[in-house]
């Protein structure tokens, strides 16, 4: 199950002008998306593990690249995020 508005935020951030705005003023962009409080908190905390359970993994990977998280940092966090998703959901 995906979180629609979190997914929509990550999808929309593929637009370079919106990504620029997000990097400059994250709260202004987040205010336009009706994220659940716990989801917004996970975004604000750069909580890779929590967000990984809510969005497609390609969008997750894109988001943290766009947001400027170093690759080594993202890899360390995603690799320690828990067991791979179940066969019936996220895997190929």
């Amino acid at each position: 199950m995906r979180d629609y508005w979190l997914s929509k935020l990550f999808f929309d951030l593929q637009s370079p002008p919106l990504a620029d705005e997000y990097r400059a003023d994250r709260n202004a962009v987040l205010a336009r998306y009706p994220l659940k409080p716990a989801v917004r908190a996970a975004v604000e905390a750069d909580d890779v593990a929590a967000l990984s359970r809510l969005v497609n993994p390609y969008l997750l990977r894109f988001y943290f690249l766009m947001a400027g998280m170093p690759e080594e940092d993202f890899l360390r966090r995603i690799r320690s995020s828990g067991a791979p998703a179940s066969r019936s959901t996220a895997r190929g």
Partner: protein, 275 residues
Amino acid sequence: MAELVGVYAASHGPMIVRNWNILAPAERENLTAAFSELGRRIKAARPDALIVISPDHWVNFFIDNLPAICVGVGEAHDGPPEPWFKEFPHRKMAGHPPLAEHVVRTALERDFEPSISYQLALDHGFCIPLWKTGLEPLPAIVPVIFNDLEPPFPSVKRCFAWGAMLAEAVASYPGKLRVGVLATGGLSHSIGEPDMGRIDEAFDRDCIRRFENGDAPALFDFLNERLPGAGNGASEVRNWVAAHGAARGRGFELIRYDPIPNVYVGCGFASWKLG
């Protein structure tokens, strides 16, 4: 009548472009050799049009409307929108509406229900192989997007049937046209998942052997069992299965396989036997 002149497959990992300058020299040489040989084979077949089967990496479609399979019927397609792929030399690529529409009609007559689009952007999945193989001038492109990214996915058996249907569509196209099929993606890789960066070389080599020997039911059984453990990116092997169907399961010749950690992908390149 049109003629199917070649069926091919190539990996397309974005790091092939984004990390090109930090790849080890041997990795660059191996990729260059693979793409060059694939390009040589495609050019030798002289296709007027290329049906390219690739996933959409969240460029055209989102979870508000996500087709399992979409055929691009437009007169032209946009080049890749990824900011890191500005080197790609085409902002527009010619489509082939008559062939694309014939594919759609044939699909519907054979009880397949593809989505259609008159306006697609072709992301790195399409454009890395088109670029790195040096196909200039580009043949007309008929994009066929398979959903390999967001579960649930089309079954591998259905993907094979799709490929067989594509070959029927080419054979029944009422015009003189040389048509190739290029599947992109795979082999094993994992993106944005806890095992990101893992390449399942054992899966890749087993998979290649099954494509080589051409036994489609055995390939289906193998993939149904092993795809779920080969990383989310391995789902793109479905595109190779469609190519296998287009080639009537005759088996392919491996051009090259290299597991390339800096690309995160088990990189495979092949062309099918048509004779």
